[in-house]
Symmetry: C2
């Protein structure tokens, strides 16, 4: 019998009515004769509310306790979903991450799944139960509850699909699927029916919020196709998989953006070995995530180093970086917190000249100044003024003909 | 080193400020050098809110799922309390009922503790941690989460105190201790500094809400003294223990009452063996709890049977009882839903004549009609009109001189 793994996000289970509606979708899958495993996020804003509660107690809540606290959100929604299925006459059982055998390391708040001991899930499936697994959480070797951090429930779902040998992982969310660009911003945005893992990974990493890059990576690693679709409509969604046809791949596919970009430039650094480590090691110790790093070509053994951080971390980063800049003899530290990031993504760009030039030209025509450029084989990213990001997206969407189905 | 077990109720941890205040009390106990185990209830109305959520999903929520759902309330408060202690610089760890080794049977929503596997608690105490245990919950042999039902967190605390060999179990709540009668009703109510297990058990069973009878029974069984005190003040509280002096015991000690009383009388029953079973067996099957049962002396082999139920169960009980009354040839079924129950309690009443007479006389002087009478060795209970309960309490409190410290 086929096995279906579905995941429902927080907005899909935000209240009793929506939970009942999700239960009807699950029941429909079960009616097809499938064995069904469902991963569920916490209801609506529950996680944020629990975090707020923790911060009312302490500005620096203990990591272990915070993970136990947050894990209750998914336990609540999973039990309610199981109740809704019972109410409809479908046998169902909720399992916590620990009961479902999600084994993780002990890195609280950002634990990594080390393996899945799926005995209990299989036992419940064999009894005929629909198994509802609380997402976002696992259990460490010391039998303590951990949470997986951002994108945790998506990751739980893909990991379960991989471990149970499901043919697909269905991620139900509040959007219809993956678009060429944010449809709230650009009405001409077009939904993609399929997309490759790598493209999706770049999109997710560079600002598209529909699916977390961790889940995409896991899907690619275990070759689990991931369907992203709406839990509110019956639209077909977007299938993320490895078998995307060459024809479809042969072009720019989408535009991602991110408005949470601040830049720090350390100006006039003596260019000698060990400088990069001297700068980035203390930032890592301070828990500051660095995004893009660009180092200019050295002139007279003097170089500039620029990197970007989230806006909320700019203050901390500057505090860490200033004394270091002084100690290594840099001339100054400059920062800019009003930046954004625009990326054009597509495996079709690989080995195909002209995409970068077209992108730069399109921005130039709109009078948009490019501050930093970074690229991967299937992505070109420009960091520009935050206020011009929307103009840039609009221009690029048109130039690369993303509004036209091909 | 001495071991202290404390329990804090839902109103004591209803918000972040109160949780911090409770943490300060716990820290003070720890400062005395004691090893400290704390049992905590869910914050404020959390449990009621979760129940409401479940009933929005289904009018008959699955028992197993409901227990998992409700157990999250105590997990939340226990993690927040641990965070508050961390914030004050005290090492602390929260444990779920399962992690604390509270082993129960599988009777969801009213599980009984079968034993405590206290290895983890002891390990954490030996590490120097204050151990915060989520109350009201345990784990069945099948590794499923259970809840203990009413009075669950009190029961967890006393059971832990017994199993860990603590000298006392301290129950902190929103009242100063045990009173001669409800102080909200009778301003002359006097706080008792100590009281015996049996008296407390009768009081708890007959309407005093300060402590659940299960916890008192467990305290008596394992000879664990229980201190009931306020978490908001520094009043000394009331010690429930087995060593209460004869002098103190030698009188009526307190008055309990309960306004949730409805009465059913089956009139004109042929008095033959098996009749009581024929009536009460179906009520038990329907899940209706019977409180007092009184059968009148049989006249001409015809008898009347009267029993009381909670008001909310009267409708159900009448539906069950009417066809049975017909089938056994009873004349009629009458019910009255506007009743209350008043009890005078005290070990001093044992083997001492005159208490019952004084009680009946006091009620008679006030023109209060007694509908039913039941007694134990240390308690006399009268069921009377609900509207007269307050008058009755007032009169009895005075007649038995409960307002005067002796």
């Amino acid at each position: 019998m086929a096995l279906t793994v579905q995941k429902y996000g927080g907005s899909s289970v935000a209240n009793a009515e929506r939970i009942k509606s999700v239960a009807r979708r699950i029941a429909a899958a079960k009616d097809k004769g499938d064995r069904v495993v469902v991963v569920v996020s916490a209801m609506g804003d529950t996680t944020d509310e629990l975090i707020e509660l923790a911060y009312q107690i302490s500005e620096n809540p203990d990591n272990r306790e915070l993970d136990v606290l947050l894990s209750t959100g998914e336990v609540v929604s999973s039990t309610l979903l199981a109740m809704a299925l019972h109410h409809m006459g479908y046998p169902a059982i909720s399992l916590s991450g620990a009961q479902a055998g999600i084994k993780t390391d002990s890195a609280y708040s950002r634990a990594r799944i080390q393996g899945i001991e799926s005995r209990r899930v299989i036992k419940e499936l064999e009894k005929g139960n629909i198994v509802i697994v609380a997402g976002f959480q696992g259990i460490s070797e010391e039998m303590d509850i951990t949470t997986l951090g951002r994108g945790g429930s998506d990751t739980t779902a893909v990991a379960l699909a991989a471990s149970l040998g499901a043919g697909m992982c269905q991620i139900y969310t509040n959007v219809d699927g993956v678009y060429t660009v944010d449809p709230y911003l650009i009405p001409e945005a077009r939904q993609l029916l399929e997309i490759g893992y790598e493209e999706m990974l770049e999109m997710a990493s560079y600002g598209a919020k529909v699916l977390h890059p961790r889940a995409v990576e896991l899907g690619e690693l275990f070759n689990v196709p991931i369907l992203v679709a709406s839990s509110f409509t019956d639209s077909p969604g977007t299938l993320i998989h490895g078998g995307v046809s060459m024809e479809v791949r042969n072009k720019a596919r989408s535009i991602a953006y991110d408005l949470d970009v601040a830049k720090i430039t350390v100006v006039g650094i003596p260019d000698r070995p060990g400088i990069a480590a001297a700068i980035f090691q203390p930032l890592a110790v301070a828990g500051i995530s660095i995004d893009t790093i660009v180092q200019n070509a050295s002139i007279n053994n003097i170089t500039d180093l620029t990197f970007t951080v989230a806006k909320s971390q700019l203050g901390n980063a500057m505090e860490v970086i200033k004394p270091i800049a002084d100690s290594i003899g840099a001339r100054e530290c400059a920062s800019d917190s009003k930046l954004g990031k625009v990326s054009v993504i597509g495996t079709g760009m690989q080995n195909t000249p002209g995409y970068a030039a077209s992108m730069f030209e399109a921005l130039s025509e709109k009078g948009i100044n490019i501050q930093l450029i970074t690229t991967s084989e299937i992505r070109i990213t420009c960091i520009i003024e935050e206020a011009r990001v929307e103009d840039a997206i609009r221009a690029l969407h048109r130039v690369f003909e993303l509004d036209i189905a091909k």
